[in-house]
Symmetry: C2
Subunit: 260 residues, 2 copies
């Protein structure tokens, strides 16, 4: 099977012009079929503030009301997505910027209201990924750059967690490609010792539960690891978490934390 | 040759939610390969105002400084483009939202500074349209929805006139398709008598010059007609200007002004 690298970039990379540019150079240089998934970092919150819309977060998750959805659509789907695509084009990487709505790449269902009404947030399933179209794009030599937005198939855009979106896309595509899923963020992996700069080279589900109980792994890392474990269990070749400046080394499996 | 309808929608349609929804129903129902090109109407100016950026216009053309380019990228490339795509998907039209940067669909050159510095504005040529990729998308059953943004191939997004973009795309695709180019706006055609609601059924270049001298055709209509005449002269099957609520009749060549 042909190799496919699915890369997810998070907040700090998108927010920092220099970091983004350095990351994109490495992404463009990757010698494999590739797909990039991004959110919009703090830019969406900043834009909301400039427009007088207060961002609402519950458990680190954005509450997406009508106005916030507009901001997210503008910032993720417009500003970040198109700037990334233009930069990649300048680096001879034939990028194409998309959302889950485009070509019906990823349908979602609006999250049901339970204790919290998350608003226009979409939950996704592996089966809802339009892997045929993504494969066709890759076959045309395109590198899809996908903003973390989906749609309900009935005209409504939905905000979707970028980590989850990367996981379900990687999973769906693993039927046709040898998929490596790389989560890039602002740390060199799952940290064993932050002061000494030591990472876990490998992380099992069992150890994760122990480290959570010991308080060594917490907050933002949890949903990322959850998605990573689910993707690995689905049969991906390599699932890895690491620093956005080390993309090539992560792809070479010489850095970051390998998720078991 | 296979038929292809290239439709350009302008300001009033995009600004008015009901008008847009009624237009999109007709667009989705068109029984032909199709491509939609849009700008962002007054929404970009409104967004600039909300963000405290004063919109600058010279001769009806937007001056695109760095901040304005960001707004245009958010509004045209993000908000409008993705809302249109999601709505079309809800109408069973397999739309894909793009800009000229995506898949290098349309490269442009930054307009040289002469008397006026237009800023980040891109001028385009028929030869710069990536008609192979557009044809491939159409072959996959996709309906491209293209925001009036281009790129310089070196990492810079550029703002491009949507009328011109529609014309050059229609021209480039006329080598592989029987192309009809339809400019949809808020009037039923080039008006012969605005009070009586009469349109010119046909408009020649010679008559246009006469009507301009007589003051009967002016301002916003001029660049539209210029683009339309250039496209028609290139060998398009039908070039037509008319009302956005009459898309089906325009495609049937029973309404609007035919450009000769």
């Amino acid at each position: 099977m042909k190799k496919l690298v699915v890369v997810k970039i998070g907040g700090h990379v998108v927010d920092d012009e220099q970091a983004l540019s350095s990351f994109l150079k490495q992404f463009a240089a990757l010698d494999a079929a590739k797909l990039l998934i991004h959110g919009g970092g703090k830019m969406a919150s900043q834009m909301s503030e400039r427009l007088g819309i207060s961002p609402q977060l519950v458990d680190g998750r954005r509450i997406t009301n009508q106005e916030t959805l507009k901001v997210v659509t503008m910032v993720y789907g417009g500003l970040v997505n198109k700037q990334v695509v233009a930069q990649l084009q300048g680096l001879d990487c034939n990028a194409i910027g998309l959302t889950g709505a485009d070509g019906n790449l990823l349908r979602a269902s609006k999250r049901p209201v339970d204790k919290i009404d998350y608003g226009f947030v979409g939950d996704v399933k592996v089966d809802w990924v339009n892997k045929e179209l993504i494969s066709q794009f890759i076959g045309l030599g395109l590198a899809p750059v996908i903003a973390a937005l989906t749609h309900d198939g009935a005209g409504q855009l939905l905000n979707t967690n970028a980590d989850t979106m990367a996981a379900v896309m990687a999973q769906a595509l693993s039927k046709d490609f040898e998929v490596q899923l790389v989560y890039c963020f602002e740390q060199i992996g799952v940290m064993k010792d932050l002061d000494k700069g030591l990472v876990f080279n490998r992380m099992s589900k069992e150890n994760t539960e122990r480290y959570i109980n010991e308080g060594r792994i917490h907050s933002g890392m949890l949903p990322k690891l959850e998605n990573a474990f689910r993707a690995k269990a689905y049969g991906l070749k390599d699932v890895r978490i690491g620093h956005y400046t080390a993309l090539q080394a992560l792809v070479n499996q010489t850095e970051g934390t390998e998720v078991l």
